[in-house]
């Protein structure tokens, strides 16, 4: 089966900044895609949502500065006791329905960290 041409990249970050340098490396990959002119969306889910803490290590700074789009799974956020905390500016709340729409889109490449 030939590979479909990808019109968008969905990068799913599940580990977050406290798990080690991998989160920053993955978000750097996302920023590189944006700089290369690729339509790029990052989904933060599970501990990945911690990258969206406004007083956190600034994991999203490079990506947001480059114009990348960031979705944050609200279920993961609330489960982690953060319902009273507003995330970093510019991110978008989502649930699994929105994510499913992108994953089912044959033109969206999904990379899961």
């Amino acid at each position: 089966m030939s590979a479909a041409p990808w019109s968008e990249h969905l990068l799913v970050e599940t580990h977050g900044p406290w798990a080690g340098p991998g989160c920053a490396a993955f978000l750097r990959d996302a920023a590189a895609l944006v700089h290369a002119g690729r339509r790029t969306l990052v989904l933060l889910v599970q501990d990945g949502v911690l990258a969206a803490l406004p007083h956190g290590p600034g994991a999203l700074d490079e990506l947001m500065d480059a114009g990348g789009a960031v979705w944050v799974d609200r279920y993961s956020w609330v489960h982690r006791g953060l319902s009273t905390v507003d995330p970093a500016a510019g991110v978008t709340w989502v649930g699994m329905d929105e994510v499913a729409g992108r994953v089912l889109d044959p033109a969206v490449q999904v990379v899961w960290h």
Binding site: M1, A4, T14, H15, V45, Q46, D47, D73, Y75, S76, H79, G95, M96, D97, V99, A100, G101, V103, L104, P106, V108, Q109, V110, W112
Partner: protein, 135 residues
């Protein structure tokens, strides 16, 4: 005769171990959401993810001494619920090698065991393949 692999929109290759993080919770949430949208999904479980569909888990987790009468469904029961609700659009495969390697040898009846060399056929049957977790 080779097993026929129904075509799907997505193949989730699920490799991460249960009980290590929220990967399984997220994956099953995503599967439910894709099926609700009318998508066709297949799962290839590898590594310790093969433990999810063991018949030995029964329908329920062991009882909670602090809440004796509450039922806590097993992961096998949750996967069965998905297979019951979406019989023509959800297909669950288990890697035979990983299952044998981890003693996960008694899967739910609707889990179809596949040899590792058969993985390419599952990939060919999906418009998109994703790998979730690491073995």
């Amino acid at each position: 005769m080779p097993m026929e692999i129904p075509r799907t929109d997505v193949l989730i290759t699920l490799m991460g171990a249960p009980h290590a993080d929220d990967l399984i919770t997220t994956t099953l949430r995503l599967i439910e959401a894709m099926l609700t949208r009318g998508g066709r999904v297949q799962v290839w479980a590898c590594g310790y993810a093969t433990l999810l569909t063991q018949r030995a888990l029964g329908d329920s987790k062991p009882r909670n001494p602090g809440d004796w009468s509450t039922d806590y469904p097993s992961t096998a029961a949750v996967v069965e619920a998905l297979l019951d609700a979406y019989p023509d659009r959800l297909f669950w495969y288990g890697c035979r090698f990983c299952s044998d390697d981890r003693g996960a040898v008694d899967h739910l009846p609707r889990v179809r065991l596949r040899p590792p060399a058969g993985y390419a056929a599952n990939v060919s049957a999906a418009a998109k393949t994703m790998l979730l977790g690491v073995i």
